[in-house]
Symmetry: C2
Subunit: 149 residues, 2 copies
């Protein structure tokens, strides 16, 4: 965790956001990540997403089961979703989403949005062309040589 | 939306998942994305995240305000979080998270997890070293030349 915190501190001095993450397996650091959203013009370049992408590239897998992530701040919904999809086994956090809100990051706002029914959200999703959209799902179901995950 | 659906169908034939997304601004297609999780060993390479990264790279910005995303399936929490962070203005969806669950994708499972208190989740987050973790947040607050977002 101290490494994740130090990465976050260094990143502030390097034109990045105050967030760092480290992915570890069997006592070995597999990959690290820092927030490069504004530096790289990539709103998905949070510390956890960046660390997951780097770890998967290094290990040549989409499955980080057995790995632990240490993140200097509680993951936002995007990053927590990424952690679930990557099947990371353990999550340690430093700061909370409330701490992030206190310095004007939107993590807690997005969590509150996800708690609302779609119709009440700031960004209400509209559903169209449902029957057409099921076509690729049916093709997926019928495909016999697919890689499931 | 038909373009997003067609991308999803093509992607099934191209060793990808059955998901496609298109980002549009002022009637112009800015970028597209498909699910390349297993093909690229990147659990974050969902259609929406891929389209957002491509659109931001093309427009050289981390702010997609004024853009609309058409996605062949309701975004998972990771992708919805990315949509919020990218400040996309409108979201149109084809299939639902229930449709995705019906073909064995974890979208709805992750939404259910996020609804639970942390202590009851499958992947319970443990908080450690809170006071140390606040150090980079304080450095961020004190920094005068930062790029906020």
């Amino acid at each position: 965790m101290q490494m994740a915190i130090d990465l976050a501190s260094e990143n502030v001095q390097n034109n990045g956001g105050p967030f760092g993450a480290v992915i570890v397996r069997d006592g070995e650091v597999i990959a690290t990540g820092v927030n490069r959203v504004t530096a790289n013009n990539d709103p998905t370049a949070h510390a956890e997403v960046s660390a997951i992408r780097a770890a998967c590239a290094k290990l040549q897998t989409f499955d980080l089961q057995g790995c632990t992530i240490y993140t200097s701040c509680e993951p936002c919904p995007m990053c927590l979703g990424a952690i679930y999809w990557a099947r990371i086994s353990h999550v340690f956090c430093g700061c909370t989403q409330q701490d992030a809100e206190d310095i004007n990051f939107s993590d807690a706002f997005i969590y509150r949005e996800l708690e609302k029914p779609n119709a009440e959200r700031y960004l209400c999703q509209r559903f169209i062309m449902h029957s057409e959209a099921l076509v690729p799902f049916r093709a997926w179901t019928l495909k016999t040589d697919k890689t499931e995950y």
